[in-house]
């Protein structure tokens, strides 16, 4: 990744008077220094939420799924909503690190490490739900095609849930390997800088013996490209398969061929929103203002407008087609007048407002370059995308094909507790990551310093080298 020439009219991606050494210092600081009070406060709150969530999970596993608000007609609600939500969030990481790598988008360098960390941590959360939503999670390994002595029992390859198992586990492993590969030179930097022997030892282990030879770099670049190539289809496949949990069913509102592309767009939409949320906090907390700039925020907002637009078109299509069928069975799908007028009207409008209406303000350049606006919009999208999944699952199931089976869902404290618990768990992981991992790919970002660093650009401008 050589530093290509970049026009000085383009905004710099690295602000301030930074040298290579400054970058190393900036990124290593949170790892080598002591955490501030804010970090501890955030960590303990997250830890408390996580422990509460674990308590709720133990209660569920020990007592039965009945401690949730589900019933005979609504077999999934918050569990699978949270699952799809977390998986969706996990999408941005791979997109940023793999797809943008292939497209040679330099701005991804500031955010890809954290986006991928977010992906992995989000997939952890997502992976929890399919396991704990089972009535008998202790038999959960039965969904794996492992040779067994139960007779000739084998998994059902027709089931989208089984596809999920493969899709999610593949995604997790490829993401993890990709992430780790990128981390190797940076871990090595930390190792080399470490003064405490224990720390040195740990980072030595983590860096897999990176020596910084030209051969190392060559292999690193090759592996990165190969993994990016491998990971790119996963961006499409994972949420396509998740959407098939619904699309291959026979429920009006779920049984929809538009679901795969629509879900993928929605996932990227929500993933970028979550990246915005996290980075909005992180750039302040870890003093990375120089690396995560307005330009980054604007680029991400553009992706958000694009994918949000796809999502909006998908909603409109769903709404129109349901009405156009003239089938009384489509009267109450999650995007229909029936849903709007029904008991879940508030959820319908939450979806519309948070997901469609609010993001439209990003069309205004001033607003999409504002950190605070971006942060608030990203929160709104996170909420909206949660409602999208909730609406798809709960509204559709609440209005089954036989009107005698119409019912409603109300979460219990356990439903809420587990969701909050996963948020806590996610932030515990993320906060630990922020203290122990180089949050910006140090080696990579250095490659664009000369081409896109503010001071270098200024120098070039002074020298009239446009």
């Amino acid at each position: 990744m050589s530093s290509h020439y970049e026009s000085s009219y383009r905004e710099p991606l690295i602000l301030g008077e930074k040298s290579y050494h400054d970058i190393t210092e900036d990124i290593a600081r949170p790892i080598e220094g002591k955490a501030n009070k804010n970090w501890y406060i955030a960590f303990y709150i997250s830890l408390a939420a996580m422990l509460w969530g674990f308590g709720c999970i133990f209660y569920t596993v020990g007592t039965g799924i009945g401690v949730w608000g589900l019933n005979k007609n609504i077999g999934w609600a918050w569990d699978i909503t949270n699952f799809v939500w977390w998986v969706g969030i996990g999408h941005a990481g791979t997109l940023i690190s793999a797809v943008l790598l292939l497209f040679r988008q330099k701005w991804r360098m500031a955010i890809n490490r954290s986006a991928e960390a977010m992906t992995i941590f989000a997939v952890f959360q997502a992976g929890l739900f399919p396991i704990i939503h089972m009535g008998r999670p202790w038999n959960g390994y039965w969904v794996l095609p492992i040779p067994n002595q139960f007779g000739s029992l084998w998994v059902n390859f027709n089931s989208p849930l089984l596809w999920d198992v493969f899709a999610i586990s593949t995604y997790l492993s490829v993401s993890l390997v990709f992430w780790w590969t990128g981390l190797l030179p940076d871990f090595a930097t930390i190792r080399d800088r470490a003064v405490k022997p224990f720390q040195k030892k740990i980072y030595a282990l983590l860096s897999f013996g990176w020596s910084g030879r030209a051969k190392d770099w060559q292999r690193f670049e090759e592996v990165s490209l190969v993994l990016a190539g491998l990971a790119t289809p996963l961006v499409l496949s994972v949420h396509t398969i998740v959407s098939m949990d619904f699309a291959t069913s026979v429920n009006p509102g779920w049984h929809s061929t538009i679901f795969p592309p629509y879900f993928v767009a929605g996932a990227i939409f929500s993933g970028f929103a979550m990246v915005q949320t996290l980075l909005g906090v992180m750039r302040k907390v870890t003093n990375m203002e120089a690396y995560i700039t307005r330009l980054h925020v604007e680029y991400m907002n553009i992706v958000i407008i694009l994918t949000g637009g796809i999502v909006a078109v998908a909603y409109a299509t769903e709404f129109f087609i349901a009405w156009y069928t003239g089938s009384p069975y489509e009267n109450y799908t999650y995007l229909s007048l029936g849903a709007e007028a029904g008991a879940y009207g508030w959820a319908f409008w939450s979806l519309m407002i948070f997901n469609i209406i609010i993001p439209q303000i990003l069309w205004i350049k001033k607003l999409r370059r504002s950190f605070i606006v971006s942060f608030l919009v990203s929160i709104a999208i996170n909420i909206g995308m949660w409602f999208e999944r909730f609406d798809i699952i709960a509204i559709v199931l609440s209005k089954g094909q036989l009107p005698s089976t119409w019912w409603r869902f109300e979460p219990t404290f356990v439903d809420v507790g587990i969701f909050i618990g996963t948020i806590g768990f996610f932030f515990v992981l993320f906060l630990l990551y922020a203290r122990t991992f180089p949050v910006i790919p140090t080696a990579e970002i250095k490659t664009i310093l000369k081409s896109s660093g503010e001071n270098f650009k200024k120098q070039r401008a002074e020298n009239n080298e446009h």
Binding site: N73, V143, L161
Partner: protein, 1046 residues
Amino acid sequence: MASNKKYWQSVEELKESSIVETLQKNEFVEEIPTDEFLGDKETLESSSTSRRDFLKYVGFSTAAASLAACEGPVRKSIPYVVQPDDLIVGVADWYATTMSDGFDFANVLVKTREGRPILVMPNKDAGADVNARVVASVLSLYDHKLRLQEPTKGGSAVSWADADKEIIATLNSLKAANQPVVLLTGTLASPSTEKVISDFTVAYPNVKHVVYDAVSESATLEAFEAMYGKKALPNYDFSKAETIVSFGADFIADWQGGYEKSYISGRKVEEGKMSYHVQVEANMSLTGSNADKRIVAKPSDQVFALINLYNAVSGENLPSKATPIDNQIKGLAKNLKKAGSKGVVVTGINDKNAQLIALAINNCINSQIIDTEAVNLTRQGNDTEISQLVADMKSGKIKGLVTYNVNPVYSLANSSDFTEGLKKLELSVALTTQKDITSTLTQYALPAPHYLESWGDVMTTKGVLGLVQPTIQPIFNTRQLQDVLLKWSGSSLNYYDTLKEYWSTNVLGGKSWNQALHDGFFKTDVFSEEEVFESLVNLSSVATELTKATQSSGYELNLYTSTALGDGKQANNPWLQELPDPLTRASWDNYLTVSMADAKELGFDNPVKDNGAIDGNYADVTVNGVTKTVPVMVQPGQAIGSFGLALGYGRTENLKDEMQVGVNAYPFYFNGNNVQYDVKIEKNESAGWHRFACTQVQKTIAGRHDILQEASLKDVLNKNLDPKHTWNQPAMVSYDHQEVEAKTIDLWDDHNREVGHHFNLSIDLTSCTGCGACVVACHSENNVPVVGKDEVRVGRDMHWLRIDRYYSSKVEDKQAEAKMTMAQFKADNPKIAGKDIERKYTEKVLELSGGDLFDALENPAENPEVTFQPMMCQHCNHAPCETVCPVAATSHGRQGQNQMAYNRCVGTRYCANNCPYRVRRFNWFNYADNNEFDFNMNNEYGKMVLNPDVVVRSRGVMEKCSMCIQMTQATILNAKKEGRAVKANEFETACSQACSTGAMVFGDVNNPEDKVAQLKEDRRAFHVLDYIGTKPNVVYQVKVRNTNEA
């Protein structure tokens, strides 16, 4: 394990260099006191245990010790030392017997396993008509909580011998003093018991036998006596009827014992006949919901309308009043006259004069439907004698009282008088199966056996007898009424011998006792008597009296018995408590049913909560100065100004906490009259909200009419109409630009059905009355757990089989407003095809009347038509559940069933979400052996009812209807053992077996002689949600209404 090999650790050691020795010596700085520690050196040296072996032993023994510490649960099973002759372990024995508890009478077959009854089914050879309570009665046998187990005196145990001695002594002293003693029983309808009682009254001439029915038909008995000279109920053969007019008589359910089977026999479309049934009623009853035409009228209007009908039919002019339904009554009179002797009028108003008018109308048209010879003997209670008894007890005139299986303290309106009277008695004995409130107030409480532990006979209709035989050794220290009376009258005989002798001398007429016992019923004409009776009834004074007694001002309360609890005898039966009412679909409750208009006026509402449950306001109901706070359920079809309330609830004494639900309505049941006038009803604001437990929330079908196809009799009988294009349209899809039937298009390969059986279940929606017997039978056969009110409330009932109820929607009301009928719209728009017509019509009508589509489709009409649809697993040939299960726990069977492997299920619930019929039930908790669910699966007695052929499911697994695979397999194995093919119509499921009306027919469509094979191809056959292409093995028959007339 010891090894004799020698390992050297280094070359130096091999060379035996001195360095090694030195080092070895210096290995430990200090000498380790191994010798001291290990003791005897010699034995140690001779042992071959190396260090490694030692560690192996330690590891193994630790593991073994810890494994041994985790002891598995011990289940003791005791084998027969000597196997009884008539019992093979694992093979069910069936016995024919007869249920009679004073309210429910039925010839039944009882399935026993290893000496315990586990299932009660109708004895179809005897033409039995069973309801949910009869099927559920087997669980009441094992009700250790409510059943009286030991004789008690003043609450403490006493032996039978001591009790006998003391009671006989008291009886004798009372006899000597000629003090009156009353034997108070429910309707026994048992000829041999009547003989025993009359012998007893010979031994004790001071004893009088009084019959008490909690739910009284006394007025009918009196009316019939006045008209025909016999104290009995007339019998009806509705199967031959052409026109049935009922004024508030819920004859499909509990009215005079129920006539469900004979009614439906007269409505078999395939036989080309169908009675025209008009129901004039206030409460929305099971009968009214099955009627071809339902006219809403409050009870007082019913009374006047009845007289008006008499006037119109007879041409006489009895005094009456005008009613809002007089126009319709005139039409009815025409219908009745046309039907002539094939017409019949019945009324459920428990007033002698009203009953006389009804009898007079039947006389007038010379009805052949009513049978005044072979009379109905299932209700014999005498209200006059009861009120006399209570008065005499209160005044101290009566000195002794022996009750048998009645609970007057609970079920009398003036029970406080009765309780007061009880205290004045010298002798009070309650012989009872239940520790009810009456038995706790009497001096002696003596345990009587359940009918499944008893001998006896029952004559429900004159000349038709049923035999009662025990199907289990008495569980508790019980003795039945007849034996008690024989003992007290000093007889040395036991009842069994008495019964046998009575039958051989009086009934059998030389026929075999064993055969009669085997059949469970016996028909004879020895009881028929020819007598001429001159009726002295003056109808005009009857009508005058009736008009005077009927107050038409103020609210009217119409008490009824609910499908689940009846008169309340089985209130501690969890299966019945959990059985939803067929109309409101509320379980575990009774409530005041209020019309939509009155609800609006009085401010009552039934909001649906966020968790899907229904709440209700409370009302203060005051009748004759008695006030009770009752929850309210708004009921479409309830007559304005009238209110319904079910009897049989609100029992508390010795009931499980969970079963102490509802409000006791008996205190309103003054003079045994189910209609109370001048009732005050007010909203009770301070009582807050009542929490109902309904199994269905949505009331209408929301425009999805292909779910439940309906047709008129005229269309169905018209052979020129092609049902596929008119009244039974299949789902169509576009395929290669051609409209073809959805079922011809297939994504999947068909299952190979060439060999073996292929099971189908046919459900005739015309014959299904919604009675719920199948629901309880399914519970009983398949060990379906009871989950309790709180869980039902949040939509977690476990019913494998449910009966969906749909009201016709508000569109009906709107069409009246818009003055456009569907037929007219159809005629105007011949181009609109098929199912679109409904929608287009609705839109058109709404446009005309300015209504909202969702409101009109979702909310029921003021007086809706009702349809019932039993719904269970449809056993789809292309089942959506099968494809989505990740572990293949549910898959298709060779015989057509969709099978559920509980052991394999991990509980993702995906199958339930993808089931368009929503028939799959998830075990949210452990329902067995769990104190949170303290029902029959949580105690050793209750577990005796479990079917050993069906596994009890653990928590976290999905379950659903299996098409009773344990029954079909047993049938196949039996045939195999007997070396024959399975006979036609030999297969049964619990629901089809329990269905008295023949609505459910199960069988093998691969056997062309099976009834179901033809039904599957019937003109009326359709599949629910056929547009999805699931190809179910459950086939429904179009609901037909006889709307030709009127």
